[in-house]
């Protein structure tokens, strides 16, 4: 399990770089590093379905980010400016919230089953009944397309809405002429 911790630490370092670096292109590349290390962690915790989806989605995310940045600007001008009072207030409030949130989450996660020993109450039903009921060998596909297919229908609706939103935001018709 050592490699799992190595990739988690790498992910955290890349995340800090992505938020703090001045060049936006470098920040997007660091975001890609976070995403690919998440994909490798998915492989290590025996989730190959998630790893495939994460890798290809990560590639498309970076392509879209880079396309947007190349059309605008790639320097973050806000970093070198003087820090205003309200920004200091935001950082202080964030720090207080972060400490409280961390303590609350640690206490919550202590009540979860320990890592590596999940409660398999519902999952055992799906595992033992998956092949006889649906005939599919990939249990994840059985869950998303047979047992919980309505959930997938809702997800398809969300994706459809986001595509409509992007196309409607970016179209030329209806803009004011100069």
């Amino acid at each position: 399990m050592l490699e799992l911790y190595l990739f988690l630490i790498f992910m955290l370092v890349a995340g800090i770089i992505a938020t703090e670096i001045k060049d936006l292109l470098a920040a997007v590349i660091s975001l890609g590093a976070v995403g690919f290390s998440v994909a490798i962690i998915f492989i290590l915790v025996q989730a190959p379905d998630l790893a495939i989806v994460q890798i290809v989605v990560e590639v498309l995310t970076i392509v879209i980010f880079v396309a947007v940045i190349l059309r605008t600007t790639h320097i973050d001008e806000t970093i070198k400016e003087k820090i205003s009072g309200i920004q200091v207030l935001a950082v202080v409030l964030y720090g207080a919230f972060a400490v409280l949130f961390f303590i609350a989450m640690v206490r919550t996660l202590n009540n979860l089953p320990p890592f590596g020993h999940p409660i398999m109450k519902v999952a055992n039903q799906y595992i033992s009944l998956g092949l006889p009921r649906t005939g599919g060998a990939n249990l994840v596909a059985d869950v998303i397309l047979d047992f919980r297919a309505l959930d997938t229908l809702g997800e398809a609706t969300v994706l459809f809405t986001s595509v409509i939103g992007v196309v409607a935001l970016m179209r030329k018709i209806g803009r004011r002429q100069k």
Partner: protein, 144 residues
């Protein structure tokens, strides 16, 4: 959108068919091996994104492909809802697996799951490709 150099175009020519084939394999074997409609759809969208980035495109071509991709996205969504409604009509339960299961661990098995995978693959691939066209293509270039 401008195209890239000759090296990129040649390599794209070689690999693009294999990537498309891999996407189809991921979709069609979604009920037997890791993968499924979501992963395969994103891979197929990636094939078209690669073709656009390497070869470039004209304004008319982009308009045509954005229309075609939105038609395909609607077709995928209607197929998915249609399979669900067919279950409602034939058996009275929404999304019921009404096709016989077949022999387990074979390509023709698992009832409606492969059909749903194909519908979702069409929908996700066309939807993500139209997002890419809207955000990166020449048609919507910014006016200064």
């Amino acid at each position: 959108m401008k195209g890239m150099s000759l090296i990129v175009k040649t390599i794209t020519n070689i690999v693009i068919g294999f990537i498309f084939l891999y996407g189809l394999y991921i979709i069609l074997h979604g009920h037997l091996t890791p993968g499924g409609g979501f992963a395969g759809g994103v891979i197929i969208a990636g094939v078209f994104v690669l073709k656009y980035l390497a070869y470039g495109s004209s304004k008319a071509g982009e308009k045509k492909s954005s229309i075609i991709s939105s038609v395909f996205e609607s077709v995928g969504a209607l197929l998915f809802v249609g399979i669900a409604l067919l279950g409602l009509l034939l058996t009275g339960v929404f999304f019921l697996n009404f096709i016989p299961r077949g022999t387990p661990l074979h390509l023709l098995s698992a009832g409606i799951i492969p059909l749903c995978n194909i519908a979702i693959g069409i929908k996700v691939g066309a939807g993500l490709f139209s997002i890419f066209l809207a955000l990166a293509a020449f048609k919507y270039i910014m006016e200064d």
